[in-house]
Amino acid sequence: MANIIKATDLTLAYNRGKNEIIKNANFSVRKGEFVFITGPSGSGKSTLLKSFYGHLKPAGGSMVVGGLELAGVSTSKLQELRTHMGMVFQDYKLINEWTVAKNVVLPLMIAGYSLDVQQTQAQRLLRHVKLTEYGNKHPFELSGGEQQRVGIARALAKNPMLILADEPTGNLDEYSSNVIWDLMENACGQLETTVVVVTHRIPTIFSLPYRHFIIENKGVYEVH
């Protein structure tokens, strides 16, 4: 199966290379896989995830995502790549002045879909995350779990090749967390989207086969 992400001797650093977080990491993620990345606090999990969507460029080595080398990538190519990704964040990153429906179709809006298509898709996506009645509300009117479901609906809006999630259940109770994991599993299992999740703890109830990478001492290792 084709690689969606391939890191070769990857080094990630802050402060113009002075503060190395990841050093000489080699790993790959294939299409349709579900991947957990864990590690202690401050180990560089979120930094690694940010590098997948080009927020942090490699300080050394190579990082290829969706066939695009991210070292020295142009802004326009990076923008194009990001339109094929869905992102889910611990703090949801929803736009509070927009309605839930408008938040959900943000990727479609960026891709230039018509308003009709956006409205139809908003209904479908909100039905998928069981928030049909919430389309006209604003994110701040929703609970944390509901906001995260909106975040997942947004991530799925354009049938992305890759979903990146940074601690998606970090702020949620157990019940809401299980709902989120169900949606994530569904995205990977039924929609065949590649999912990479950064988390402190792998959920105990998880039915899909998955791969597990751990970050330790600036290295990225697979746990078998």
Binding site: Y14, N15, Y53, H55, L56, K57, S76, L78, Q79, E80, L81, R82, T83, M85, M87, K93, L94, I95, E97, W98, L106, P107, M109, I110
Partner: protein
């Protein structure tokens, strides 16, 4: 209320900048008009032994725009009362030629001195008379006032520009999160900053309309109400249609630069 306050805080400094630009345009036109009047009102008297053409005078100095011969008969009319015709004829034959000279453009004192020197150096020309002193002192006073106003306008514009940028930063802070989320999902600059551009351009139109209305009022109403001759006679200098275009263009350039500054300052940064 906050929405209105945000807009007023942006429109006011923009109005101040446009006011400065319009004053600048008005003073520039006033100066040009004053220079024209000075140029037209200024004359130099040239006395020559032999007749001299305009081309000859222009070959001496290219700043000469016009020359008019003063007929000898006209001069004698004033002084020949009671003289015999044969005496008058003799006087005419001995009189030199008189010419009044007008300038092609406004000249400063040094250029006028050079013109006078060039003319005096010519063998055909006997004498040159000019009225340079009052010409120069009036213009110097006018230039000084213009300079002071320009300094004030530049100072006011710079301060106002900082206020515009400050208000833009406030807007940027308000919209920062939304723009960053859109950037993460791959939105191009124009899409994620579209709201800022729309609001800023609307405000640019409002600020331009305020200044245009104000100066139209000056031109068509105030000049007559205060009955100040200089304003009534030169009201066309107070506002011209091209000014509206210049002001709108300046306002749009200012807001576009300000929006871009905010957009680029709110871009996601690598630590």
């Amino acid at each position: 209320m906050k929405f209105i306050k945000d807009h007023v805080m942006f429109i006011l400094p923009l109005v101040a900048i446009l006011l400065g630009i319009e004053f600048f345009l008005v003073f520039d036109r006033m100066t040009a008009s004053y220079e024209q009047r000075l140029r037209e009102g200024y004359s130099m008297l040239v006395v020559s032994n032999k007749p001299i053409t305009l081309q000859e005078l222009q070959s001496i100095n290219k700043n000469i725009g016009q020359s008019t011969k003063i007929e000898k008969d006209e001069i004698l009319k004033e002084i020949s009362f009671g003289q015999k015709p044969e005496d008058i004829k003799e006087i005419i034959s001995t009189l030199p030629n008189f010419y009044t000279i007008k300038l092609a453009k406004y000249l400063d004192t040094s250029e006028l001195n050079k013109l006078q020197k060039d003319l005096s150096a010519n063998k055909k020309i006997k004498r040159v008379e000019s009225f340079g002193n009052s010409y120069s002192s009036n213009y110097k006073l006018f230039s000084f006032i213009k300079f002071i106003l320009k300094v004030f306008i530049v100072f006011m514009s710079v301060v106002s520009l900082f206020l515009v940028i400050k208000q833009m930063e406030v807007w940027g802070y308000v919209h920062k999160e939304r723009m960053q989320v859109m950037e993460i999902f791959g939105a191009p600059v124009m899409l994620r900053s579209g709201v800022l551009f729309k609001v800023a351009i609307v405000d640019a139109f409002i600020a331009t309309s305020i200044i245009v209305s104000l100066f139209l009022y000056f031109r068509y109403q105030l000049a007559e109400i205060i009955e100040l001759d200089i304003l009534v006679n030169n009201s066309q200098l107070l506002f011209q249609p091209i000014d509206a275009f210049i002001l709108l263009l300046c306002a749009i350039i200012i807001v576009v630069i300000s929006v871009y500054m905010v957009v680029f300052s709110s871009r996601e940064k690598e630590a």
